[in-house]
Amino acid sequence: MSVEATLTIQHQTQIAPNIYELCLAGSIAEQPVTPGQFVDIKIPSDALLLRRPFGVAKVDTQQKTMTLLYRVVGEGTTILSQAPVGTELSVLGPLGSGYPIAQLQSGQKALIIGGGTGIPPLYELSRQLVAKGVQVQHLFGFATQSAIFYQSEFEALGPTAYATNDGSYGYQGHIGLLLDAQFADALTTYDAIYACGPKGLLMAVDNRFAEHPNAYISLEERMACGIGACYACVTKLRSNPEVQLKICDDGPVFKTNEVLI
């Protein structure tokens, strides 16, 4: 059940160039989320009507806090990044379907693939998997070394490999190339594959793991209602493009080979 509630900014820190860690306290954080779910935030500006969707990077149900990680890209995130501690935000969530994890057992292996601002929800995913005893391998793509965030946080959960476009850290090149070079047998090695990131990354994962029985990608699209009522955020079923699914509601997580990216 998604709810609309007022959450309060508990702290907010810039953790990389243009990347902010936002910690919100309030009732929505009393319940755990399915990793991959997102929240839809009303930006505190009268002129901005549409809520902004952000993946949930961490929920601490004891502290009743929720952490989001976001990049400043436009007007809404600029205003959000300037909101002081104590600001009250209207938050709608948790929304969407999230990544299935119930099928995994302790000791099984999961490959978590992310790029840029697709990475935040993968942190809650990795936390929940590790809590179940699943062994996680992270594989993250960034433009350049300085853009990397949450490195130690992820490394604390499992081995973490990086690819950077300019080669300034880890493998040089995009995630697809790193997959081919160092994780060529991932299709069979991992019990589950989870991905979130830019379109190119999702296509690379969708492509390589189309046949994997347990591989998931998370999509982004411009949204209005966030709850499936307005048909803003549709994507077509690959097996039958006459059927459209709503990313906000049926997604944002889909199985590989399920939808047309």
Binding site: L49, A224, Y231
Partner: protein, 306 residues
């Protein structure tokens, strides 16, 4: 006690607030958030003869105090709406009046959808959408020419079991001849306004943000245009008007009522706040008391507008 009831052709409303077409689906999603019985009525998403996939994405973009949409009338088609969507509403909210928004490519499309959908027991009125800016055919074409608008209206009125409200476009040089033609053709009322045509461009690419290039502008940005058009149509017609365009709160609703509307559609505000409609219904009596209105009857406006 403030009385919010409104009686319009086909519509006995306990209050004048109804979600606008396309901004509330077929009610299911918002029913997670609150009891839809609080609403005066619900205007459901456009129904067309065949299922429609709509336009490519991105379908929405934000603008200052507004938004653009180019959904393209995606809907499951009249058959599925009759078989699933309307029955779901009838089962969960048997008392809730539904207004069916009807769209199509051709006159025949419109006629067949009106005929079918007006037989649904919970459909109390039709909102004839001759003003959708986001589809290649039909839609806006019927809405910009008085004669085509009248022809379509007459044909739909003839086959409909319920009163037909015609939803007009603000994207015209003069709305009055169109409103007049539609009234003479037998419309029970008007729905005003549909969206203005707008565009946003992504500077990085130089390309429109919307895949459809243009989209319909809605939200508070267009409220002054809605007020003007409602008052213009009110000055030449006594027919009921469902007013909409940028209503975010009870004060906005009162402004559209003061312009000449008899009931209020709420679109974009549902996205900003999913509880916009019930909050407005709660706030309306408080605001009305503040301004000294005991009921909605004083909002009977007939002044002429240049």
């Amino acid at each position: 006690m403030v009385d919010l009831a409104v009686n319009l052709p086909g519509l006995q409303l306990k209050n004048p607030i109804m979600p606008a077409s396309g901004c509330f689906g077929f009610g299911q999603e918002y029913s997670q958030h609150y009891d839809l019985n609080q609403l005066g009525a619900v205007i459901i998403k456009a129904a067309t003869k065949e299922p429609r996939l709509g336009n490519a994405t991105p379908r929405v973009a934000e603008t200052p105090s507004g938004m653009l949409n180019a959904i393209g009338l995606q809907n499951p088609g009249i058959e599925a709406i009759m078989a699933e969507k309307l029955p779901w509403l009838a089962q969960h909210y048997p008392e809730l009046p539904i207004i069916a928004n009807v769209a199509g490519n051709t006159l025949d499309d419109y006629v067949s959808v009106c005929q079918a959908i007006s037989t649904a027991p919970n459909v109390h009125a039709i909102e004839l959408n001759i003003s959708c800016p986001n589809v290649a055919h039909g839609g806006l074409e019927f809405g910009t020419d008085p004669q085509s608008a009248a022809q379509l209206t007459a044909a739909c009125v003839a086959v409909s079991q319920v009163p037909v409200y015609v939803k007009l476009s603000p994207n015209v040089t003069d709305i009055r001849p169109i409103a007049q033609a539609v009234e003479q053709a037998g419309a029970a009322g008007f729905s005003l306004i549909n969206t203005l045509v707008g565009m946003r461009i992504d500077i990085r690419t130089g390309e429109p943000i919307l895949a459809n290039q243009t989209g319909g502008l809605s939200g508070p940005a267009i409220k002054p245009v809605a007020v003007r058009i409602i008052r213009q149509v009110r000055s030449i017609s006594a027919l009921p008007i469902i007013g909409m365009g940028g209503v975010q709160n009870a004060t906005d609703a009162l402004e559209l009522l003061a312009a000449g509307a008899n009931a209020i559609g709420v679109g974009t505000a549902n996205f900003t706040d999913p509880f916009a409609c019930p909050k407005m219904i709660e706030q309306l009596p408080i605001e009305m008391t503040k301004y000294g209105f005991a009921d909605l009857s004083r909002f009977a406006v007939t002044q002429e507008v240049k």
